[in-house]
């Protein structure tokens, strides 16, 4: 192999692939990155931990095609510290010795057999969801925090992406809270695709989309999902099993409804939470014109705040929530105002967006001891 490429674009392509490679496996090859240069083509860069796989591309002048597997972290470090400009990568014919050269510096590293590197998975595009990148980013942001970390219930360790009539939903729950983000779709689908995407992939897709815009396709078959930008393709396994029927958990009616400025409420909760016990529990109640938040720590003191709100329905007594969970829900609202609803002290609280009606966050109360 003999190729020349640009340091900057090589580095970003490398970093994308390296994020997929394994940091835990005792199999060295899984912490490696495979690079493959075809005649008259871009350089293809692969990383995988066997759960997700990434293939990225980088323009290159290929003089002699070839491929090799290199230590991922080391390669990233080397390229990161090279000056901007051209980089040359050369392999010796037989021994898998690779030389990486910039104008001033040169590194020799040992590669592994590319044949031993896991094959990049094939996804048959049996289903396809096309979505606006910004909307997808909002969906991921609004639900990612509610994904469960409890591995004894595998179906909750990911987010559900679901087509439903003329909308696309993303749902996640850790059984303390449930987050549902909806975006409208222009066309009605005949077949409603439903993908249960593992947390790891959710995280990586978020990173992948940072500098993207426009529309993006998510394709899938029974086993895998794929998402592809101009230069990067990410493939992930899905979670097996049935996501819980969450709709029946959402109360149809509530007894108290408070319309409140989202940022004001977040700020107030953050301040009060400083005085909360270790379990981050704060108490919420309403009077005729405001939401009141109180936190007490035994033997230390108490903090309270009053946030102006438009209250309809019954007066709400005290209900306790985890402050961080409450903040997570409020932060996912993209509008200025949010609706905070209650049905007595033992039923879940509900946070909703008002205008677009595109977000719903159900929060279980903490039992007040």
């Amino acid at each position: 192999m003999l190729i020349t490429l640009d340091q900057g674009s090589f580095l970003s392509a490398l970093q994308a692939a390296q994020r997929a490679s394994s940091t835990q496996s005792t199999l060295p090859i899984l912490s490696g990155i495979k690079i493959q240069a075809e005649k008259d083509g871009d350089l293809e860069i692969y990383g995988t931990d066997l759960e997700i796989s990434v293939k990225s591309k980088c323009p290159a002048r290929v003089e002699k095609p070839g491929s090799t597997v290199l230590p991922g972290r080391l390669l990233v470090d080397i390229v990161k510290h090279m000056p901007p400009g051209a980089i040359e990568i050369k392999t010796e014919e037989k021994a898998n010795n690779i030389e990486i050269k910039s104008e001033k510096s040169s590194f020799k590293i040992k590669g592994m057999q590319p044949e031993d590197f896991p094959a990049f998975p094939d996804v048959e595009a049996k289903q396809k969801i096309t979505v606006d990148v910004r909307q997808l980013t909002d969906m991921l942001k609004g639900t990612a925090k509610a994904i469960s970390k409890d591995e004894t219930r595998p179906v909750l360790t990911g987010a559900l992406l679901q087509e439903e009539d003329k909308s696309l939903l993303m749902v996640a729950t850790d059984s303390y809270r449930l987050a549902v983000k909806t975006v409208p779709m222009r066309t009605k689908k005949t077949e409603n695709t439903s993908l249960l995407i593992p947390q790891r992939a959710i995280e990586e897709i978020q990173k992948l989309l940072i500098n993207e815009s426009g529309k993006i396709d998510i394709t899938s078959d029974e086993n895998l999902m794929a998402i592809k930008t101009a230069n990067i393709e990410l493939i992930s396994r899905l979670i097996e099993g049935q996501f819980p029927k969450y709709k029946q958990l959402v109360p149809k009616e509530t007894t108290t409804s408070a319309e409140v400025n989202k940022d004001e409420l977040i700020a107030a909760v953050k301040r009060v939470a400083l005085m909360a016990q270790k379990n981050m529990s704060i108490k919420v109640s309403t009077d005729s014109s405001s939401i009141n938040i109180v936190a007490t720590t035994q033997g230390v003191g108490e903090a309270s705040e009053r946030v102006k709100a438009k209250i309809t329905g019954e007066k709400m007594g005290e209900i306790a929530f985890n402050a961080q969970f409450l903040i997570d829900g409020l932060q996912a609202i993209s509008e200025e105002k949010a609706l905070f609803e209650f049905t007595g002290p033992v039923n879940p609280g509900l946070i909703k967006s008002i205008k677009k009606k595109d977000y719903l966050y159900l929060l279980m109360p903490i039992r007040i001891s």
Partner: protein, 372 residues
Amino acid sequence: MKDSSLWEQIKGHDKTVNLLRGVIDKKRLTHAYLFCGPRGVGKAKTAATFAAAINCDQACGTCVSCRGIQNLTHPDFHYISPEGTQTILLSQVTDLIKKIHLTKQNNGYRVIIIDDAHKMLPVAANALLKVLEEPPERVVFILVASDMNNVLSTISSRCQRVNFSALKVEVVRDILINDLKISKDKADLAVMLSGGMVGEAMEIASSGLLKVRKTMVDAIVAEKPDTARSVELASLLVAAAKKRTAKIKKDQEIEVKEAMSFVEGSRGAATIKRNLETRHHRERARVEHRCYQQALVLVASIYRDLLVLKENADEKFIANVDLSFELKSAKIERAQLTSALANIDEAKQRIEQNVNPLLAFENLFFTLEAVV
């Protein structure tokens, strides 16, 4: 039919291999198998071949799937063996279960090998049991066990049992000489001493223990006890074990070095190194321990040979054929021989209880010489 297949490399289990190949040919896979039989006869190797055949009918050994199974990078293949000192931990099983709950990557089967399944901690076995009770579709478990007493009956009852018997002497001999390129003389002795276990025979052949036999026989048949000789013998046996572990340590150091050059600087590097080193340490301890047991088998073999000669049985029944001349010169009574065997058994137990091996051997040889 001429085919190149991983099956061809399995020796001495024709019936079992035919049964398993039949399962593949007739596509009659069940979701769980339990391979059981003596240690070191090739159960794990057969399991890996069966795993390859499940996704590649011929178990060709060269396609992407077969190679992935051999070097553990097949996306839908998982291999577990004891990671605890002598146990399969709960965390290993929960990690496996987590993987099983993700979709497969390919359209074939997901195959899971649990090697030394009898070493699963009860909590780990119970976690696995839940999966075996409600097996996911297109998943095949292969449990490999050499001690059925330690496999939960609730687990074994959910698996189809595949029995392996000890290998015939000729098969072990063939493997040692033709596959492992061990010299004929050494191979014959090792086979006699190993009781049909290829792994064991291989270790004996390469252990340096065989060289100590002459000194041992001289000591045993000598008419006067000699403390210095006993001490020397004991240190020779311990040295043989240490030499083996030193050699293993060298390979292990290379393995660590290679792995580290690949993961250096990455987040999990320290963990990988620690895990690798713990595993290596355990491996060395295991090998050293086994060396001592083999040394005792060797000592016992000499006394057994002497008993055989006492009964005027055919010389071909003795293990240490090359030393038959010396053995015949021995003037030891039958009763003394049997009591010596009992002493050896005692030493074996002491070493199992982690008594300092050098002391245990010295003690043994003092007693043995005193017997005469």
